[in-house]
């Protein structure tokens, strides 16, 4: 069995639920206090691509910011893939995600990524229009509606990203 490691950064505005989203699906190596101290915490997630290949995603859960700063830029360096997270009940967080995507592209060039629009369980408070999402999909974006509460689409998104990274 071959294992390929990949560095993946989670990016998204404050409070979009990045940490909660992956918490149920990853190996927690460090407590959350690292987010408020160092500004990043690591988790790992091993995804089976096929019978002979596994991808071990080293997830850099970067503290929520609407834009990259010097520190978060450092953390992004060498990232093979990205997970952008937005809060479906706050439209501005999607804007932040797009902004972060733009900045990440400038820093890293084009790398595989997925966009998770989170808190899909709060559909009554939904603030993001389908049109915008469709536009993004038409541009080739992999967009998932996810929920940290129900676990909806989290595994699928990670699997898809892993396949894109090592497949």
């Amino acid at each position: 069995m071959k294992i390929i490691q990949k560095k993946v950064c989670l990016l998204g505005d404050f409070g979009v639920g990045k940490t909660s989203l992956v918490a149920r699906f990853v190996t927690n190596a460090f407590p959350e206090k690292y987010l408020t101290t160092v500004g990043v915490k690591m988790d790992t997630k091993t995804v089976a691509i096929n019978d002979e290949l596994q991808a071990k995603l080293i997830l850099w859960d970067i503290a929520g910011e609407s834009a990259l700063n010097t520190k978060t830029s450092s953390y992004l360096r060498g990232s093979a893939g990205l997970i952008f997270v937005a809060d479906g009940t706050r439209e501005n967080t999607l804007t932040s995600a797009l902004q972060l995507k733009q900045e990440a592209d400038n820093l890293l060039g084009a790398v595989p990524f997925v966009l998770l629009i989170n808190k899909h369980d709060l559909i009554a408070e939904w603030d993001i229009s389908e049109t915008v999402v469709d536009e993004l999909k038409q541009q080739g974006w992999q967009v998932f509606y996810s929920s940290a509460k129900t676990g909806e689409n989290v595994e699928q998104a990670l699997l898809l990203l892993a396949q894109n990274l090592v497949g």
Partner: protein, 651 residues
Amino acid sequence: MTVDANQPSEKNQPHTSDDAQTLEQLIEKKRYQALKALLLAEESERLASLEHYIHHPDAHIEKIAPLLAQAIQQANLASIYQALELNTIVQDKIIESVQNDTAMYTQALYPVILPAIKKSIAEAFKEMMQSLNYAIEQGFSLNRFAWHFEAWRSGVPYREVVLRHTLSFRVEQVFLIHRESGLLIRHLSSAGVQQLRDSDAVSAMLTAIQDFIKDSFSVNDSDHLDTVEIGDYTVFLTRDSNAVLACVIWGMAPYALREVFDNALRVIDKNYGELVSNFDGDSSLLEPVDAILHSCLLFKDNSTFKKKDASIKNFAILLLLIFVGVGYWRYDNWQFQQRAEHYLQALQQTAGVIITSHSYDGKKLLIKGLYDPLTQNPQQRSAQFGLKPQQITSQWQTYQSLEPFFVEQRLTRLLQPPNTVSLHVSNNTLILAGAASKSWLKQLDLLPPVLIGVDKIDTHALKTYLQAITELLQPPPTVTMEFKELNLLVQGTASLDWIQSLPGKLMTLPFVQSYDIKNLTFSEAAQLQQLVESLEKTSIYFANEQATPTDAEQKDVALVADTIKQLQALSVQLNKPVEIIVIGQTNSDGTIKFNQNLAQKRAEYMIEQLKTHGILSGLKTAMKTDRKYEKTGKELHRKTSFKVIFTGVDE
């Protein structure tokens, strides 16, 4: 410039045939040149450009420089140097240049060398400081004493011994981390080290922390996080352009280890640089790196390679030793005082010793006093109480004690009495008792009138040897005694018992070395002789032809029996066995046969009579007919007489 070949020039005007010919040639030449210019215009320009390129290289430096650099890069620089034999030339030129203008080189190298020197000195200081810190931490440990001893024994300065011993460490984990992504390329641990739960995440976090520190605190791009210290652990981080080598070290991590790690990283870069640079997450490709990383798992195991609580243990042991030491010292002191007190007590109880003063000076007894020379020197007695000579300072003076014991000792020396005389002093009176020779007794009269410790002399219990012997033996008046030169002469007659008791009694008199009792006779022997004589003189008379005595004679039978009893008893006492012959006698009247028969009967009758008086043995019969005395009285021969025969061996 263009040339029209159909337009003749002024110089080419024809005047003669030769001139015409020359002109024609000239025209041909011109045409040729014109044709050449038409056909090769482009090439000519390029040629001119090349000529300009060659003759004016300065104008093309910018173009040549990158080409040259590329050429050098592609070729082996060393082989170029070798081919051009530049090595020696370059070296010579550099040396010459440095010698000519040292200041210039100093100025040029200053920015490079100074930080390097600073860093080197700083690291050397760090190494020294960490060792000294450790040495101070270990300040109360037993090691410190052991190191002092080792320094003293080997002559090596103490600080060097400390450094040598304190550098204990073990490189427990090595992380080779991809510098760009923070992905873990390889990870090795020492044997026995607990494995990390997720070394990949640790690697990433370590990278993040490096970035965090660098972004938060660093001013220069070249600055990096080099060392992390936590508890007993130190993490050394070294890096090149592709990778970071993080080594987790337990114990005193010497800075020299950095060189080892740097070197390992260089070797990795040299052999696997491209693989590391292009690392895409597949760490199995770089498995061969493990061999190099393994060389980083160093350790130095000194005797101090123990967990941290060792120093606490050592401190506890040291405290214990101090307590034991102090305890022993106090016990030793107490023991000394006890011994000294016992010694003083013994001296105070000793007659003839007077302690005038005593005191202690630390572990030393100071003592002053007097002692009678007749007693043991007090200083010599100290050893009996376990005191060493150096523990006592004493000043003793001698004196004569008036205590009876010492007075007695001195008088004994003066009078030298025999063993049979006892001498003691009581209430200032010298009491002499026992037996002594006359000559010794005589010297008492010559004693000086004043004796120290004696007011008067009591000699009433003192006697001569003979007096003592006479008192003991109490001889009968029939015995006389004489004692001369320790020999006792005893003469006279005494009872057997008395004589037999003599040797035993004389043994109790030590002054009697020999005795002579040859002339001492038993009184019992004389008595025996008297009885024998008396019995042999006694006769029991019979009437004519009668075998029984007359009534008057019957009384004498009882007397004879009594005499025989005494005689037999003495003979047993004196061990002189006797036999008593009872002789039956007749006179000569009658026939011999009758007389023999009558004599036999008379003897047997007597024996029978004696038996009735209790005499059952020791008697024999004999017959006798007397004829010689018939004329003087026949009746005197009609009798039984007695004869005593001593049957024992005659002495």
